[in-house]
């Protein structure tokens, strides 16, 4: 140990592969590459969707064709060639009637590598997992416990079959097909995702959780998530993802819609760890996500995100505070290292009276990365006594990275009260030496300082997620010293 110098450590970290960079060889059923009406129809047919759904997708496709990829974000990347992507890929061995015991052993092995063995999940009473591997959900647990409460938690493809009235009523109401380029694309080709409905007055007794990952090389992943919390209900939803290491850029364009009816509360937590590319900036996932929630009267939506992965991130989980006294919250940690680029933030749209929003954003940049916070606080003329508090803190490591803050405020009501605080700091050599002197090596010291910096947000995560998130922060910043 005594011969293990700082240089050895640095060297070892340099060669450290992406933790989840493995590839499982599962036979896949992949559509031909490219996108046209036939492909959209084929996806819909494959899913045995009703006519209205097929039409909805086709409509979205038509809209998408007329749109252009946005380029206002503070990110630079080679635009994906949408005609060179395969839009559907499902593990071939799927059988809708099978139980967990019937799950493909290769898949089970893969979960194990990801640290989420299905066996373990059965024992964990507090987390029900709906795992999405390459677009199709393959295992759903705890359905029974949830069923007794009338809670619906299933792949959205199943919900389209089993609860068409709910899906039809809400899908696309929060994020319309024509909302933006990626939302339109997702609407046309979404493969699967989660659907969740909490009935009136029900407090969901466990955290609902979904694991997304990309497995098939060159496959785009387009999840669609719809969470509906009926009047007076409560749900905490966790979403985490990891992706294996691939050289070509992978496109990820998800849409998440949350609906919190009167007096309902939704807590939505994300840990995002898609492959960020290597230390030369080659490869990595393009993560272009549209997430938005609607709050009716006295409702509350809380977004918490830990973004450590992806080569390019473009993501603004937002709240439309339509009902009086509704509350929106956004807690975010975004880490960028090497050549990663993140442009993330939120939109808080105050429509109702006495609406409140809180934004806490922690950006950590290392290497040659660029990390931007972009946020909009909008107060409509009817929104009397709207309140917002925003805090954007940036932590820089080294001299080659960038941190940017783009706060937009539009207030049309004189009673609005909007506060914005921002800080930028740098991890200092003195801090590192202080830790070193106490026996804490430089990597660990940085992890400690970063975790301290992010604490306000980490504290908002459910316990089991917070631990995972802390580890992720450490992994993401490994090798960033020097």
């Amino acid at each position: 140990m005594s011969k293990y110098t700082e240089d050895d450590l640095r060297e070892e970290l340099k060669t450290k592969e992406y933790e989840y960079g493995f590839y499982t060889d599962i036979e896949s059923d992949t559509f031909p590459i490219g996108l046209n009406e036939d492909i959209v129809r084929a996806i819909s047919k494959k899913k045995e969707e009703p006519e209205w759904m097929t039409e909805w997708r086709l409509e979205a496709f038509k809209v998408w064709k007329s749109m252009e990829e946005p380029n206002w974000a503070n990110v630079n990347y080679k635009k994906p060639d949408f005609q060179s992507i395969a839009y559907y890929s499902a593990p071939k061995t799927i059988d809708p009637n099978k139980t967990l015991d019937d799950v493909d052993p290769d898949l089970l092995a893969m979960y194990k590598k990801l640290g989420i063995s299905v066996d373990e999940q059965k024992k964990m009473n507090n987390v029900a997992m709906d795992i999405v591997v390459d677009s199709v959900s393959v295992a759903t647990t705890f359905k029974k416990t949830l069923g007794e409460k009338g809670i619906i938690f299933m792949p959205i493809s199943e919900a389209i079959q089993e609860h068409p009235e709910l899906v039809k009523k809400y899908i696309g109401t929060i994020v319309p097909t024509k909302d933006n380029f990626y939302a339109a694309l997702n609407s046309a080709v979404f493969s699967d995702g989660s659907f969740c409905y909490i009935p009136k007055g029900v407090k969901c007794p466990m955290e609902l959780s979904t694991y997304f990952r990309i497995n098939q090389g060159g496959t785009g992943q387009f999840e669609r998530t719809l969470v509906i919390a009926d009047e007076g209900s409560y749900v905490s939803y966790l979403e985490g993802c990891t992706a294996p290491s691939r050289d070509e850029n992978q496109l990820h364009a998800a849409v998440v819609e949350l609906i919190a009816l009167d007096d309902a509360e939704i807590k939505y937590s994300t840990v995002q760890n898609w492959y960020p590319g290597n230390d030369k900036g080659v490869g990595g996932v393009y993560n272009f996500v549209t997430k938005r929630g609607l709050c009716e009267k006295n409702a509350k939506i809380s977004w918490t995100q830990v973004e450590t992965g992806s080569a390019v991130t473009w993501k603004y989980p937002s709240c439309v505070l339509k009902g009086d006294n509704s509350v929106g919250e956004f807690y975010s940690i975004a880490v960028t290292n090497n050549y990663q680029q993140a442009d993330t933030g939120t939109k808080m749209i105050h429509l109702g009276k006495n609406t409140k929003s809180t934004i806490i954003s922690k950006g950590i940049s290392a290497g040659k990365s660029q990390n931007s916070y972009r946020g909009l606080v909008q107060v409509s003329s009817r929104a009397d006594n709207a309140r917002n508090f925003s805090q954007c803190d940036s932590l820089l490591m080294g001299n080659e990275c960038g941190a940017h803050t783009f706060p937009y405020i539009e207030a049309k009501n004189k009673s609005a009260m909007i506060e914005h605080e921002a800080t930028t700091s740098k991890i200092g050599e003195d801090q590192i030496f202080y830790c070193n002197q106490r026996g804490i090596d430089t990597e660990k010291a940085i992890a400690l300082i970063v975790n301290g910096f992010s604490k306000e947000v980490l504290n908002k995560l459910p316990m089991e997620f917070a631990v995972e998130a802390q580890k992720l922060l450490e992994i993401s910043l490994e090798g960033s010293v020097g």
Partner: protein, 250 residues
């Protein structure tokens, strides 16, 4: 314990230490005094292994082992502790979390398991009591918004937790009122044993009324120009440093 032989060190090409010789044996307390800018804090930093300082010549040995190739954290693992003159703030990291990490990293380096939470808690309680540290204090972010006295007390608390072989106290008395000074000094005295050693760096004699040194050295212009017993400190207090400077320059 500690042997320093003809140590020359510089920072940013500016030569600061110009041939230090010092031997500290287990069970001893040494005081290093000297006017501002004489190199006292530099000596502390060089022993602790701060990267910015370059050792140009000479050796630092801890129990016979040359420290030259060891990083700061490895020196800490071997039992060197530096109580900082200006302890840094680490927002969001509690005193407890910090000391827990420090102890477990040191144990890890020695191939030991993490200290069981129960033992850690017991130890924290004991040491906090010894230094009259309030429980609430332990949950605060490290040094953030601490008064001068709180910062120094926190340094000695960490020393108590880490149980170093060689503790270097760099201007621990600065920023302390008389009560805090007594508490800190009492803490150091309780931690003293025949197996460890303490080097007290101070500008004033005041602290040495409480932590009584076996040896006093005067550092001036990068060299130890005078050594003696505790009475030397009193002499310096009375007469200032000018007579030492004159002696050297003569």
């Amino acid at each position: 314990m500690l042997q320093i032989k003809n140590l020359h060190a510089s920072v940013e090409n500016k030569s600061i230490l110009k041939g230090i010789n010092l031997e500290v044996k287990a069970g001893e307390v040494h005081a290093i005094m000297g006017p501002n800018g004489s190199g006292k804090s530099t000596l502390a930093s060089v022993i602790a292994g701060k990267e910015e300082y370059e050792v140009e010549k000479g050796q630092i040995l801890l129990n016979g082992e040359d420290l030259e190739d060891l990083a700061a954290e490895e020196r800490a693992h071997k039992g060197i502790f530096l109580s900082f003159q200006y302890p840094v703030e680490i927002p969001g990291v509690s005193v407890t979390n910090f000391i827990k990490t420090a102890i477990n990293e040191t144990r890890k380096a020695k191939g030991l398991e993490d200290m069981p939470a129960k033992d850690m808690l017991k130890m924290i309680r004991e040491k906090a009591e010894m230094l009259e540290i309030d429980r609430k204090f332990l949950s605060r972010s490290l040094n953030e918004g601490f008064s001068g006295g709180e910062k120094k007390r926190n340094e000695i608390f960490q020393m108590a937790m880490l149980e170093p072989k060689l503790a270097i106290l760099d201007e621990t008395d600065s920023g302390l009122d008389i009560d805090a000074l007594r508490i800190v000094a009492n803490g150091v005295n309780k931690l003293k044993s025949k197996d460890n050693a303490v080097v007290v760096i101070t500008h004033y004699q005041r602290l040495l009324d409480y932590i009584v040194p076996d040896f006093v050295h005067v550092l001036y212009n990068g060299r130890i120009v005078k050594s003696g017993g505790k009475e030397l400190a009193h002499e310096l207090e009375e007469k200032g440093y000018d007579w030492v400077k004159e002696e050297v320059n003569a």
